[in-house]
């Protein structure tokens, strides 16, 4: 995918003015936040479950090589193949080569963030393949030619009217000539259109919510059932997953699934939880002839060894973005690189570098709401601050900001200079305010005063007043 992270600030302005985006984002609150709160309140052990989730994921990261090899062995024993991809290019080549070898013409896809990460669709289309997204949200975005703006609700930024327009334009040639305006009608039309695509697909590509080392199974959760169909109908099934998706046992997966559904959509369990383990066996009624798992590293081993290790616990529920006030204001497209919201602000600079994506780490008030709802307790604000530390060390922040910070820090370290200097400054500011209690504008502080009054200092500094008063005591 093409990154536009460096255009973050311009993207923010556009997003804030986008009326239909703002309307769509206002639904995140009722759709996700309230539902999560309701379902969590009915599970008294939810906090213990979070701690268990954190421990399971930490254990995996401590023994990642072991569990990955175990997973590989189990997949092979079931008759499947595991392919290791160090980077996006290798992963794309592996998938493309499989498609070429089996002479595929059509590919049906379940939702996969790894597919987004490695820009798989573009690569396969370039190779002449007809690629169809089967997740409704992804399908909408494929028609709109846009990247996802949310990891579990990729088309959350689209309004019903926009989707109706997209379907009307895309489906006319298939004989659907009516413009639809209700959600059930839109869903039914997509279902009908997609159904034939499942049947004609040669290859099904899905993501992975968890890879179970004990059984060699891939687990995906959906609410549309599209995952089942993408796994079972085509003659070849390819799973695209990152190496951090592995969990030791089915019990572990079960604990994490309980956390995932509640944190993501406020459901106790998703409508479909699909386990796929190897190709069709002799006597099986259905299933693919070939079963492949592409395991992508793409910088994750490096993260494992460094300060961002905790990030690899992530189970991609999206709760952090649902609860992020900045995401709520600007949505996921301002990031413009696959992973939006707080996890995107941590991950993207890791993948693309701080020069490219440094703004993301700063576009956060460090309010901590994300970490407080994270099902595996990732300290997201601390990780964002770590990016800022690296930016500071490498002098990547703009020069005026660095100079201002250096000047302030130089003074704040010296109380004997700080206090008289501040007393003088506050005295001047008070004179300027002429008792009006606030400023409508102030030179150098336009970023504040363009949209907010700046309250004026109440009197002299506290330290000045305290010295005087203490003298009297």
């Amino acid at each position: 995918m093409q990154s536009q992270s460096h255009r973050f600030k311009q993207n923010v302005s556009v997003a804030l003015e986008d009326v239909s985006l703002q309307k769509a984002l206002s639904r995140v609150q009722e759709g996700f936040v309230d539902k999560r709160a309701a379902v969590v309140s009915t599970l008294p052990e939810f906090e213990q479950l979070r701690e268990q989730g954190r421990e399971i994921r930490n254990h995996v990261l401590d023994h990642l090589d072991f569990y990955l090899r175990r997973f590989e062995n189990r997949v092979q024993a079931l008759g499947g193949q595991v392919h290791w991809a160090e980077n996006a290019e290798q992963a794309r080549d592996i998938v493309r080569d499989i498609c070429r070898r089996v002479e595929a013409k059509t590919v049906i896809k379940g939702k996969s963030m790894i597919s987004e990460e490695i820009a798989l669709n573009e690569a396969l289309e370039l190779d002449g393949l007809d690629v169809v997204e089967s997740d409704l949200g992804e399908y909408i975005l494929q028609l709109a030619q846009e990247p996802p703006s949310h990891i579990i609700a990729p088309a959350i930024h689209k309004t019903r009217a926009q989707i109706s327009e997209l379907f009307y334009n895309a489906h006319q040639k298939l004989g659907y000539t009516k413009k639809l305006d209700t959600v059930p009608d839109l869903v039914n039309e997509a279902r009908e259109v997609l159904r034939s695509r499942y049947l004609e697909a040669d290859v099904g590509i899905t993501g992975a919510n968890f890879l179970v080392a004990e059984t060699g199974s891939n687990i995906i959760v959906t609410n549309e059932g599209n995952g089942d169909l993408s796994c079972t109908l085509p003659r070849v099934h390819i799973v695209t997953a990152s190496i951090d998706k592995v969990v030791p046992t089915l019990d572990d997966a079960s604990a994490l699934l309980r956390l995932l559904a509640r944190s993501a959509t406020g459901q106790e369990i998703t409508s479909y939880t699909t386990f796929s383990s190897g190709p069709k066996r002799a006597g099986d009624a259905d299933g693919p002839d070939e079963y492949h798992v592409v395991l992508l590293d793409n910088g994750r081993t490096e993260m494992l060894a460094g300060a961002f290790r905790d990030m690899l616990r992530c189970i991609r529920c999206g709760a952090c973005m649902n609860h992020c006030p900045v995401y709520g204001a600007i949505g996921g497209h301002s990031h413009r690189w696959g992973y939006p919201g707080p996890i995107g602000s941590v991950l993207t600079p890791n993948f693309l570098g701080l020069e490219e994506a440094g703004d993301l780490a700063n576009a956060c008030t460090l309010n901590g709401h994300c970490a407080s709802v994270c099902p595996v307790k990732i300290p997201l604000p601390d990780l964002l601050r770590e990016h800022r530390r690296r930016q500071f060390e490498r002098k990547l922040q703009p020069l005026p900001a660095r100079l201002a910070l250096a000047a302030w820090a130089g003074i704040a370290r010296r109380p004997w200079i700080y206090q008289p200097l501040m007393a003088t400054g506050i005295g001047m500011l008070r004179l300027l305010s002429r008792g009006r209690g606030k400023f409508k504008s102030l030179p150098m502080l336009g970023a504040w005063t363009r949209t907010r009054d700046l309250p004026a200092p109440q009197s002299r500094t506290f330290q000045t007043l305290w010295k005087k008063q203490r003298g009297k005591r």
Binding site: K9, V12, S13, L16, P325, V326, A329, I330, N362, A363, C364, T365, L366, N367, G368, H369, A371, S372, R385, H387, R388, R389, R390, Q391, F392, E393, Q397, A401, L405, W408, A409, I411, A412, R413, P415, Y418, Q419, M422, I426, G435, R436, G437, K438, L445, A447, W448, R450, T451, R452, D453, L454, P455, P457, Q458, R460, T461, F462, Q463, L465, W466
Partner: protein, 253 residues
């Protein structure tokens, strides 16, 4: 028995912008039976440097704070954000420095935000204040999520006879201040402040109360720019019955 000694952590914003919050804090702590002193060698907790990635300067400022408050039984400040930095983050800063780590942990254990100190440590459950009216309370993020401050200020405010609390929707959602965030990303910051203003106005309360001056300057500034009649005070001012002067951003009386 001699009174326990409290070192008041003034906070830089209170020092510069609203001394009445510090005077109110002193009154509340003295009324609760403590001896309060104000070390002169304090400036700021170092959060602006910390959150902008300058950990070196943060450590220097932290050492200064640790030394200034070394001799007190408690350190109390009227800000969840500054006390959160001292209590939760100072020890992280010195993970590789055993000597200072021990000092940072020692300070951390003695550091408290004002309302949580009054209720949880001093055991106060009511205050006398002539302040009256319908209030709404903004939960500042650091106090809420780093220190678990939620019920303490409500308990104390609720004990004032003429006060009723009208909870706003999304009182736990960030107001968009975020320290230097508010000037680095002014558009996003303003949007969050506007959402907060809407929730405050919908609560029909006449007064906004909070425990962190940064948030109150931000929300107050946005309220006034939008000509909303809501008055803004720090919780310490109301609890100490010292909210009879101008509210934040109001013309001097």
């Amino acid at each position: 028995m001699s009174k326990a000694r409290i070192g008041l952590f003034v906070t830089c914003l209170v020092d510069l912008y609203r001394p009445s919050v510090a005077f109110a804090s002193i009154k509340l702590l003295e009324d609760a039976g403590y001896r309060v002193e104000v070390p002169q060698s304090q400036t700021c907790c170092g959060q602006p440097a910390f959150n902008n990635g300058d950990f070196g300067s943060t450590c220097e400022i932290a050492r200064q704070v640790i030394d200034a408050f070394a001799d007190f039984d408690y350190v109390v400040g009227a800000s969840g954000s500054c006390i959160g930095t001292i209590k939760m983050h100072y020890p992280e800063l010195f993970e590789d420095d055993p000597e200072w780590l021990a000092k940072a942990r020692d300070l951390s254990a003695r550091a408290f935000e004002l309302t949580s100190f009054l209720t949880d440590i001093a055991g106060i459950d009511s205050v006398e204040s002539g302040f009256g009216g319908e209030l709404t309370y903004h939960d500042s993020c650091s106090g809420l999520r780093e220190l678990g401050i939620k019920q303490q200020p409500r308990k104390l405010l609720g004990s004032i006879e003429g006060v009723s609390i009208r909870e706003m929707q999304h009182s736990e959602t960030c107001c968009g201040f975020g320290g230097t965030f508010c000037v680095k990303f002014p558009e996003i910051s303003t949007r969050l402040a506007s959402d907060k203003v809407d929730n405050i106005c919908n609560s029909k309360a006449q007064v906004l109360i909070g425990g962190d001056l940064g948030c109150l300057l931000n929300i107050g500034g946005r309220l006034q720019r939008l000509d909303k009649p809501v008055r803004v005070f720090h919780v310490a001012e109301v609890l100490a019955d010292m909210a009879d002067g101008s509210a934040i951003g109001e013309e001097e009386t």
